[in-house]
Symmetry: none
Subunit: 381 residues, 2 copies
DNA sequence: ACCTAAAGTGAATCTACAG
DNA sequence: CCTGTAGATTCACTTTAGG
């Protein structure tokens, strides 16, 4: 396995240097991939059409119409056509993956079983299936099925013996000391993050949240890695990759999406090296992980936190750890070190500035807890 | 869709009466299923071998053993054998399912994608994929992957137009009044529920928790339904089915498991009817034509009805239709037309005035329903 | 400006039955 | 098979409107 310290063991070949880095390539993803050199990218992310096969309109109980995914790119004549499409892009993708490369694919029950089986047949080796549990899904309006509250992602290496990248400690750190599980609770993409067109409508019907890609890229790539997105859309993968200091290549067929993504990417700023460094040591601790505050964008990597008396400050890092005065670690550890105290509750010690005021980060934890309580009701039967 | 009130609409055929109810049948599940009459069971639950790593034993439908192979080139052989086994039991299961029957299959990423694709290919219609999120999973000891903290279930009807059973209100009630989502947080089977053998070791490696089957059977069967478990194991499905007043059939190849399950089932007691009753929605109520309200003199022809905000009004006619603003038709049609909405539930939209208050006409329907129930209930004289 | 109420919205395979 | 109609059905969150 490649780890944080050994990731440079695999030298970039000549072919890799010729890659069209940090660009959006126009065209069909299979054709474009076939024009790229083999064994040249570290990670592929694919959010292919789901083949939803929707029939009539759907109305909410208040009679408003649900804005469905009826785009032409989601139309297939049947399972056979969809399977062939899937097999072809999976094969092309595997060719350009480095031997130790990996792939992430996201889908729903409409397509994910077919994609998963084709992926296994193509020689990929599944590492985990990961559930994106949506904290705020669209309900089932007709009361005819369960609320479709999740999507499924498959994480697979190029082959069974690939030394894939897995930043175990960074993910554990994002989860405040507890192993990251295969189910990730994250909100869908709404609000200011959701891109709008000229008319104020959503620019893309299926824009993914940056928090999802943040966790994927932190966990399965290193800074400087090349991340390829086969169905780039509005460029969420590119935006997060750029922010996190990874190189990206996007492939997108629709010009409208390419234009939106290009503008979006111009606004993204790369984090500095300090914010990008991730924890390699060990830690442990309790309930709501501070990493979720970062993943959810409540605090930005690179943002500064202050003690209430402003005597100490520290910088937020991408994996949910802090760095202040050369001390790295959890919000608790850094707070304790700077005070030369044996311990410190980072949640109440650290504050961020909003509109001139100092706000304790514990308010952000309370927000997350409120959401978790709403979405998470374990019941022993 | 079958609801609580209509589930008896589908008569049991002669064949159904010949089913070996509440028994554990010995043998290979495909052969046993082929000996059962077609279109005879309401629900099938299947917890098939997960094909873990293809390293353990895998048997073909003819009971011959597949040689486990680690060689890369032989992987396809492994998948092919597993796929054939899957297709055969799925086909046999579909034959004995009633037209409105459904199936649940549980698996992990090792097999669930292949099972799901085969299931779609066989003509089943996926209703939901459901995530069993384990509240207490085994951690990943080597730190090389994410903690595998969930399993995936697929819920599918026999065909696209099956009127499958879905007890929406009962599940909503289980979830404290909020509609049930596709992710279920439940603990794994441990403690006193976990069956032990003579030596005190776990009797079965993958015993499922009763809470899981409880939710499945409450949500997708009615009392008296026939539930078939193809890989019965220690009989969790049978135990929960018996407790919930469903009939079960179990198929199990291993004698040791059949013995354990038999003992287990003897200890299970069937709940009484009062405990079995579940919440039902309006769909289960008998239909009442608005004309009956007029016939019974609860509203007079010529009387005016109003929307709650009094923006629209309409006049009752002798035949139980309405006329408002030159639009004539049913209470639903006139309500929809006046609001320019695609549809409208006239029962809740229209109100009449009594003693200065606005009363929804649905209260009149409820009165009629109450009288109908009183008539149906024989009174001891 | 600030608080509250109302409206809007999200990858959705979303009805049952009489005639 | 088809068509037409009765009539049942929503959660979490954001944005906008109104006071």
């Amino acid at each position: 396995m490649k780890t944080e310290s050994t990731r440079r063991a695999e030298p970039r070949g000549l072919a890799s240097r010729e890659l069209p880095l940090n660009q959006i390539l126009a065209g069909d993803c299979i054709e474009v991939m076939n024009s790229l050199p083999e064994s040249s990218v570290d990670l592929i992310f694919a959010d292919p059409p789901y083949n939803l096969q929707l029939k009539g309109d759907l109305h909410r109980p208040d009679n408003s119409k649900v804005d469905a995914v009826d785009d032409h790119w989601d139309q297939f004549t049947g399972f056979a056509a969809y399977d062939q499409f899937t097999r072809e892009w999976l094969a092309a993708a595997r060719r350009i993956l480095k031997p130790n490369g990996a792939i992430w694919v996201i889908g729903s029950y409409h397509n994910i079983f077919r994609v998963g089986a084709s992926l296994q047949d193509a020689g990929y080796w599944i590492l985990n299936d990961v559930i994106w549990r949506k904290s705020n899904p669209m309900p089932n309006f007709r009361g005819k099925r369960l609320t479709n509250a999740h999507e499924t992602m498959i994480w697979a290496s190029k082959s069974e013996n690939s030394k894939y990248t897995f930043n175990y400690e960074a993910l554990k750190s994002l989860n405040e000391g507890i192993q990251m599980r295969s189910d990730w609770v994250l909100p869908i993409c709404t609000g200011g993050e959701r891109l709008k067109d000229d008319k104020g409508d959503k620019a893309h019907p299926t824009q993914k949240p940056e928090s999802l890609l943040h966790r994927i890229l932190i966990g399965s790539t290193n800074p400087g890695d090349v991340v390829l997105d086969l169905f780039f859309g509005t460029g969420t993968t590119g935006a997060v990759a750029k922010m996190l200091g990874r190189d990206f290549i996007g492939i997108e067929r629709e010009e409208a999406y390419r234009e939106i993504a290009t503008k979006r990417l111009e606004r993204v700023r790369r984090l500095d090296a300090g914010a990008l460094a991730t924890t390699t040591g060990k830690r442990a601790e309790p309930r709501v992980p501070f990493g979720q505050v970062v993943e959810r964008g409540m605090l930005r990597p690179g943002e500064e936190l202050y003690s209430l008396d402003s005597r100490h400050k520290a910088k937020v890092r991408a994996d949910g750890s802090l760095i202040g005065n050369d001390v790295k670690g959890s919000i608790h550890q850094v707070g304790a070190a700077l005070q030369r105290a044996p311990s410190c509750n980072g949640w109440t010690y650290w504050h961020f500035r909003r509109e001139g005021r100092m706000v304790p980060i514990d308010t952000l934890r309370q927000q997350i807890r409120a959401e978790m309580q709403a979405e998470d009701t374990p019941r022993p039967n």
